[in-house]
């Protein structure tokens, strides 16, 4: 059953896109592309749900030979374990809901059909990425989702900001992808395959490595992680994601919140078995820094979608941190919960925007004209202009106008803020915090304590800015009465997905994650350090890892550590049961409460003025407001350098290489020919004339060039004879 099911999952969306593309060539549209795509997606969802039962305890990849090059064979195939299935469900579910939402949201768009076709293509690519059993397949899906992201961000390409954003997204992620590709090349060069599973797969081969040989593996792991840095918008390649909000909001929900950006996390989780302590730590740091940096930026945004975007970046950092800290399952768990609540938040914000912008004048020219000169810059500056329908300063008091939207978004906000116990977000976040702290305690490494601190602060800030969003949008008085009057609750096609997603924000729905038997632990082997803390949120036995036995690279040290940490370690896998989780839970509840409280004081009660605080901490505010100047840095340095350099190159090409060639040509043609002509006409003659210069000047004659004079020729003849003889004598 697996193969047909997966085939349907993959092919249904693909077919939806293919029909659009083929008809498009004939300049026609499928009349109801929206239904077509949606049905395809629902079919995929259904099949994914059926797959839950198909997962066996010891999955084997199902492969076909894709490329055979004599000695080397590349195969393509599926690998289906519980993680895959969960990912499939998440993707198909969110995708289906976004499809449905879009039927309402995109209604009336001139490129309505195309939108759905692109969504289908995206879904296909994402699903392909998820099920692939090898790096090459993952890379293919990886790049394809990038393409779809590009197409969908630039969906309203008339807006220059959108056109810039899509290009930026693609390029930035591609930088990361190159790293990933180099990592793949390293793995391939070492193992001769890109398959992950199976007897000769990378995961099997990697176990044969001696622990002294893994320095390169760390590099490879980090390089692969580079791909995730790009795709999952980790610092320093995160700048594209906020700009990607130029795309239609459902796209933001699907691609830039729930699925594609999470693919990076998924990739790192998949590559878990090859991560060495060093690469793990790098991943964890990048994740931690991202979580903190993005959260701080989010505080000061006014664009509702950008707040959510930075929030996404921050949450993705969280997940990375989790995996880097060894909490493999926690990361993936958070991925799932985040997918739901963040999709919900985006769709909710879409609903708000939709309400504010009933006319759907998406491509009104209002904010397009400032970009005329952008033709000349490779990467465009990044939406300093906030569209009015997304500006939270125009909102307020919407909760009465849009109750359903308000309630669902509130649920998501509570979930993301980590309000305890009833919301899934709390559990997943807590699992991460607990995992990191557990790791810190297990390894006794200051790094992980630092990381835990960062995560904790980020959690508090998250609660703060999320409630800031809620307060500014739904509470208080409407700030822009005109727009407020226009606002209305969205049609049912848009609210139903909201409700479904809201339901998914409760832990009960994420049942699979709490079933410790269902989640397979990643394969373990000796290259792994004790940081491999396999944390399942609700599993006592989650910490079933044997890798604890070794510490770092040195076996002796590892042996020593083994005894020291065993005790602590045995318990920290389980949330609520080990000291780490208990501490983490308490702390997380505290910071979340603090964040919400502050937000309430600032934005609802207006007890404090945000402006005043901003003025007080001007440097920090500026830093946040300018997003740590990342974009400026890239624009100012890297991009300019590239363009400048390439211009230089082109100039070099035109002037120097061509110049040399032309020069040779010119020398040949002009100089030598002139020389020969000169020789023919002047040298001999010229010699004669020069010797007779006195006569010329005395005669006051203008120098007469005696071309064509026969005696010149005769001089050459006789001179030639003498010369030949003399030359020969010299030899």
């Amino acid at each position: 059953m697996i193969v047909p099911l997966i085939s349907i999952i993959l092919l249904a969306p693909l077919a939806a896109f293919a029909i659009f593309a083929l008809l498009g060539l004939a300049k026609r549209n499928f009349p109801r592309q929206d239904y077509l795509s949606t049905v395809a997606m629902l079919a995929a969802l259904g099949c994914s749900l059926l797959l839950i039962q198909e997962v066996v305890s010891d999955p084997k990849p199902i492969t076909v030979e894709w490329l055979s090059l004599g000695s080397v064979t590349f195969s393509m195939g599926f690998y289906l374990d519980s993680v895959t299935v969960i990912m499939l469900i998440v993707v198909t579910l969110v995708s289906s809901l976004v499809h449905i939402f879009s039927i309402g949201y995109m209604h009336g768009d001139p490129r309505y059909s195309r939108f759905f076709a692109f969504l289908s293509l995206f879904s296909f690519s994402m699903l392909f990425l998820v099920v692939s059993d090898n790096l090459l397949g993952i890379y293919i899906g990886w790049e394809l989702v990038g393409l779809c992201s590009y197409l969908l961000i630039g969906f309203w390409f008339e807006k220059d900001s959108a056109a810039n954003a899509c290009k930026k997204a693609f390029l930035t992620t591609r930088v990361g992808d190159i790293g990933m590709f180099i990592g793949m090349m390293m793995l391939f060069a070492e193992f001769g395959t890109l398959s992950l599973y199976g007897d000769s797969g990378i995961f099997e081969e990697v176990t044969t490595l001696e622990s002294g040989q893994i320095a390169w593996l760390s590099v490879a792991g980090i390089l692969i992680f580079c791909g995730a840095v790009g795709k999952s918008a980790q610092v320093p390649l995160h700048t594209w994601l906020p700009d990607a909000m130029e795309g239609p909001t459902p796209v933001s929900a699907l691609i830039h919140a729930a699925t594609m950006v999470a693919a990076g996390v998924y990739l790192v989780a998949r590559m878990f078995p090859i991560l060495t302590p060093t690469s793990s730590l790098v991943i964890a740091y990048v994740g931690g820094i991202t979580a903190l940096v993005a959260a701080t930026i989010a505080i000061v945004r006014f664009d509702i979608k950008r707040v959510l975007a930075y929030s996404t970046v921050s949450q993705l950092g969280y997940m990375m941190l989790a995996i880097g800290a060894g909490s493999y399952v926690a990361g993936l768990f958070h991925l799932t919960t985040h997918a739901f609540f963040k999709a919900l938040l985006f769709l909710g914000s879409g609903s708000v925007i939709h309400a504010f912008h009933a006319m759907h004048a998406h491509h009104d020219d209002e904010h397009a004209e400032s970009d005329e000169h952008d033709d000349h810059s490779l990467v465009h500056e990044h939406g300093s202009e906030i569209p009015p329908d997304q500006d939270m300063r125009n909102m307020g008091g919407l909760r009465k106008k849009m109750p359903l939207t308000f309630i669902t978004m509130l649920i998501a906000t509570l979930s993301i803020s980590g309000v305890p116990f009833v919301f899934s977000g709390f559990w997943s976040k807590d699992a991460i915090l607990g995992g990191v702290l557990g790791q810190a305690m297990a390894s006794n490494s200051p790094h992980y304590y630092i990381l835990f601190g960062m995560a904790l602060i980020a959690a508090g800030i998250t609660a703060f800015y999320m409630f800031r969003l809620i307060f500014m949008t739904f509470f208080g008085e409407p700030r822009n009465q005109e727009m407020h009057d226009m606002a209305h609750e969205s049609p049912w096609v848009m609210t139903v997905p909201l409700i479904v997603l809201a339901a998914l924000s409760f832990p009960a729905v994420n049942i699979l994650w709490f079933n410790e038997n269902y989640i397979e632990p990643p394969p373990q082997h000796h290259i792994h350090s004790p940081q491999r803390v396999y944390v399942s949120p609700d599993s006592k036995t989650a910490d079933a890892n044997s890798g604890i036995s070794l510490f770092g690279i040195s076996e002796a040290e590892a042996a020593e550590d083994e005894s020291g940490h065993d005790a602590e370690h045995a318990s920290d896998g389980h949330h609520g049961h080990g000291p780490a989780h208990t501490i983490a839970m308490v702390l997380s509840i505290c910071v979340a409460g603090l964040g919400i409280l502050l937000s309430w004081l600032f934005y609802h009660k207006r007890r404090f003025s945000a402006e005043a605080v901003a003025t007080t901490f001007r440097p920090a505010y500026n830093l946040f407001w300018n997003k740590y100047y990342f974009d400026e840095f890239y624009d100012g340095v890297l991009v300019a350098l590239t363009v400048w350099k390439s211009r230089l190159f082109a100039g070099f090409d035109l002037s120097v290489v061509d110049g040399i060639v032309n020069g040779v040509g010119t020398v040949t043609r002009d100089v030598l020919a002139a020389f020969i002509g000169f020789f023919d006409n002047r040298v001999v003659d010229g010699l004669v004339n020069r010797v007779a210069a006195v006569t010329w000047s005395a005669g006051g004659r203008i120098r007469r060039i005696q071309t064509g004079a026969i005696q010149t020729y005769l001089f050459v003849v006789i001179g030639g004879i003498v010369l030949i003889i003399l030359i020969f004598r010299l030899f």
């Binding site: 010699l687 004669v688 004339n689 010797v691 210069a693 006569t695 005696q711 001089f715 004879i721 003498v722």
Partner: protein, 172 residues
């Protein structure tokens, strides 16, 4: 080599030949040059006699002096329009020409001096014998018939050509 009348005459001829040749290439007046050339040609004819080439000497006198030289003089007369003008020879050209000629002469003299088989070949003093008959046989009946015939064609061609080219006007 003993100094006899014969040698004296030989040197005389040689001197006349060279001196007149020098005059041919140096005098400004073309008619004088032509007459100097005549002297040279006579001188060479004399040398031919010394080389026991009586027929050749006669031919030299008849053809060269009687034919070519007359032709040259005709040419001089027919193109004398600008003869009165001083022909200005550029000194540089003169020097270069002289240099190259001198270099050539040096080369040739070196060769003459450095060719053993040409050394010490002196006149065996055999008396002058008429060669005409033998030459006639060779040309008309033996080895040199073909060149003779070809040269006759050549002369015909030259005749036609000279007439053709020097003709005043052939335009329609």
């Amino acid at each position: 080599m003993e100094f006899t009348l014969k040698t004296f005459i030989f040197y005389g001829f040689a001197l006349i030949t060279i001196a007149s040749a020098l005059a041919v290439v140096t005098v400004r007046n073309i008619v004088h040059a032509a007459f100097a050339l005549m002297v040279t040609l006579f001188g060479v004819a004399g040398l031919y006699v010394f080389l026991q080439a009586d027929f050749l000497a006669a031919t030299q006198v008849i053809v060269y002096v009687g034919g070519i030289l007359v032709l040259i003089l005709f040419g001089v007369m027919m193109t004398s329009g600008r003869l009165e003008m001083r022909i200005h020879i550029e000194r540089g050209q003169l020097l270069l020409g002289g240099g190259i000629s001198l270099a050539l002469l040096m080369l040739l003299l070196t060769v003459i001096a450095n060719t053993p088989i040409w050394k010490n070949l002196t006149d065996d003093g055999s008396p002058l014998t008429p060669t005409t008959k033998r030459i006639g046989e060779l040309i008309l009946n033996e080895k040199f018939l073909l060149p003779f015939e070809v040269v006759s064609v050549l002369l015909l061609v030259a005749l036609i050509g000279a007439a053709l080219i020097s003709r005043k006007e052939v335009r329609d």
